[in-house]
C-alpha cells in the first residue's frame, strides 16, 4: 500500500525529453548494428561455406569466439583495445557502435548460414549451368531466398539486440536505460524511472515480437 501511495508518476513528464534522447541512441545503435551486422554476417557466412579452407577456418573461429564470451566482456574488451590500437581515446557511444556491429555479425552469420543451407543445392548447380558466376549465383538466386526464409529469425535476433544494447551501461554510454537512471537520480525518484523504462522496453519488444509472428505466417515460401 505504502508503495502506491508514494508512487509519483508526475516526475516522468518533465524528464521525457531527456529519456527520448536516450531512446534515440538505443534505436540508432540497434539499427546500425543490425545493418552492419547482417552485411558482415552474410560475408562471414559465405566465408564459412567457401571451399577455401583458411578462410572458412578463420570465419569459424571468429564466430565461435564471439559466441562463447559474455557480451559484457566483449564490450569491455573493445572499449580497452580500440584506443590502444588507434592511439587516441574513443567515446563510449562510438565504441559501443563498433562493438555491437562486430559482435552481432557473429550471431547474424549463423542465421544466414542456416538460410543459405536451406536453399536446395540444385539451385547452385542450375545457376552455374546457365553460365552464372559465383557472385551472380549468390546475389541473384541464393541470397535473396536465404534472406527471405530467415527474415523472421533475423528480426527476432534484432529484438534480442535491442534488449542487449542496455549493456552499454557498463561503459557509461547514454542509452535509454542510462538516461532513465540519470533522470531518476535528478528527481530523486529512481524507482519510478526503473519501472517506466522497463515498461518502455516491454512495449517495444512485445509489439515487435507480435509483428514478427504475423510476418512469419505471411512470408513463408510455398514449395
Amino acid at each position: 500500500m505504502s508503495f502506491f501511495a508514494q508512487f509519483d508518476l508526475s516526475v516522468i513528464g518533465p524528464s521525457l525529453p531527456f529519456i527520448w534522447t536516450g531512446l534515440l541512441f538505443t534505436v540508432k545503435l540497434t539499427v546500425i548494428a543490425m545493418t552492419g551486422g547482417i552485411i558482415l554476417g552474410t560475408l562471414l557466412a559465405l566465408a564459412r561455406l567457401s571451399p577455401i579452407t583458411p578462410l572458412a577456418m578463420a570465419a569459424t573461429w571468429y564466430v565461435n569466439l564471439m559466441r562463447s564470451i559474455p557480451l559484457l566482456m566483449v564490450i569491455l574488451w573493445f572499449f580497452l583495445i580500440i584506443p590502444l590500437l588507434t592511439g587516441k581515446p574513443m567515446g563510449a557511444e562510438n565504441s559501443a557502435i563498433i562493438t555491437f556491429t562486430l559482435f552481432e555479425a557473429a550471431y547474424y552469420s549463423e542465421i544466414m548460414r542456416a538460410g543459405i543451407q536451406s536453399v536446395p543445392r540444385g539451385q547452385v548447380w542450375a545457376g552455374q549451368a546457365i553460365g552464372m558466376t559465383y557472385a551472380q549465383t549468390m546475389g541473384h538466386i541464393i541470397l535473396p531466398q536465404a534472406f527471405r526464409n530467415m527474415l523472421p529469425v533475423l528480426l527476432t535476433q534484432t529484438i534480442i539486440l535491442f534488449q542487449d544494447t542496455s549493456l552499454v551501461y557498463a561503459i557509461g554510454a547514454k542509452d535509454l536505460l542510462k538516461a532513465a537512471e540519470i533522470a531518476g537520480k535528478n528527481y530523486n525518484r529512481p524507482v519510478e524511472m526503473y519501472v517506466f523504462v522497463a515498461f518502455v522496453y516491454f512495449v517495444i519488444c512485445f509489439a515487435l515480437s507480435r509483428l514478427v509472428k504475423h510476418l512469419q505466417s505471411r512470408i513463408a515460401i510455398i514449395r
Binding site: L72, L76, Y201, C205
Partner: protein
C-alpha cells in the same frame, strides 16, 4: 601499440590490501559459478512447471504461463536486475522491506539468482513447451487410455520424453546462463566481470586481466557443454532419438 606487458601482475598485491589479483579472480570465479548454477536449478524448476502449464488444456493456466514468458522475455536482463534490486523491496510490507535493505545476508547474491533464474525460466519454458508439443499426440492418449490422470500422464509419459528431446537447446541455455551471470556485476555481485573491471582499474593491466577472465568464461562454457553432452548420452531412450550413432 604502446602497451607494457606484465604477466606477473596476477601474483602482485592489490593496491589497498593484502590479497593478490589472483585472489580477486578466484573469488570472482566462485561467485560466477555460484550465481549461474543456483539460477540454473531455479530456471529448470520454474521453466519446467511454466512450460508444462503452457500446454495445459485449462485456458487460465495456459494464459498465466504465457504472461510469465512474455514478461521475462521482453525486458532486458539488466533492467530486470535493477527492478529486483531497487523496485521489488519497495513493493513489500514496510518491515520486510527494511529487513531486506538492511539485514538480509548476501542480498546481492540472492537478488541476482532470483532475477537470472526467473529470466532463464522463461527461455527454458519455451523449450519445454516445444518439447511437449513435438511428441506425437498418441502418447498423451495412450497415457490417458491406461487410466493415468492428466498430471500422471505428464509425469510418467510426456515430460520424461520432452526433457530428453530438448537437451540440445537446453545445453545452449545452460552455456548462456554463465554468460548472462556477468550482468550481476551491475548490482554489486563480486563475480568475474565485476572483478575484471576492478582489477583493470586497480592494476592498469587491462589486456592480461581480460584475457584471464575470458579464459575462465571459456572454461565454464566448455565444461557446461561437455557435461550436457554426457547427460544427453546417458539419458537416451533405446529406440528413440538417434540411438543408432
Amino acid at each position: 601499440m604502446n602497451y607494457h606487458w606484465n604477466w606477473g601482475i596476477f601474483l602482485e598485491q592489490v593496491k589497498a590490501g593484502e590479497e593478490t589479483y589472483l585472489d580477486w579472480l578466484i573469488t570472482g570465479f566462485g561467485w560466477t559459478l555460484a550465481v549461474a548454477l543456483t539460477a540454473w536449478v531455479m530456471a529448470l524448476l520454474c521453466g519446467g512447471i511454466i512450460g508444462t502449464l503452457r500446454t495445459a488444456p485449462q485456458r487460465g493456466l495456459a494464459f498465466f504461463a504465457t504472461c510469465w514468458v512474455e514478461l521475462f522475455r521482453n525486458i532486458p536482463l539488466l533492467v530486470q536486475m535493477f527492478l529486483w534490486f531497487f523496485v521489488v523491496p519497495e513493493l513489500l510490507p514496510r518491515e520486510l522491506s527494511l529487513w531486506i535493505k538492511q539485514d538480509m545476508p548476501a542480498k546481492e547474491f540472492v537478488t541476482a539468482v532470483l532475477c537470472l533464474g526467473l529470466f532463464t525460466s522463461a527461455r527454458v519454458a519455451e523449450q519445454v513447451r516445444a518439447g511437449v508439443q513435438s511428441l506425437p499426440n498418441g502418447q498423451r492418449m495412450a497415457g490417458l487410455a491406461i487410466g493415468f490422470t492428466l498430471p500422471q500422464t505428464y509425469r510418467y509419459v510426456i515430460l520424461p520424453m520432452a526433457f530428453r528431446i530438448i537437451i540440445p537447446p537446453l545445453t545452449s541455455e545452460f552455456m548462456n546462463i554463465f554468460k548472462n551471470s556477468s550482468v550481476a556485476f551491475a548490482i554489486g555481485v563480486l563475480e568475474l566481470t565485476f572483478q575484471a573491471r576492478q582489477m583493470q582499474e586497480d592494476s592498469e593491466q587491462g589486456i592480461e586481466t581480460y584475457l584471464a577472465v575470458t579464459v575462465l568464461y571459456f572454461i565454464c562454457a566448455f565444461v557446461a557443454n561437455r557435461g550436457m553432452a554426457f547427460i544427453e548420452k546417458r539419458s537416451r531412450v533405446p529406440g528413440f532419438i538417434a540411438t543408432s550413432k
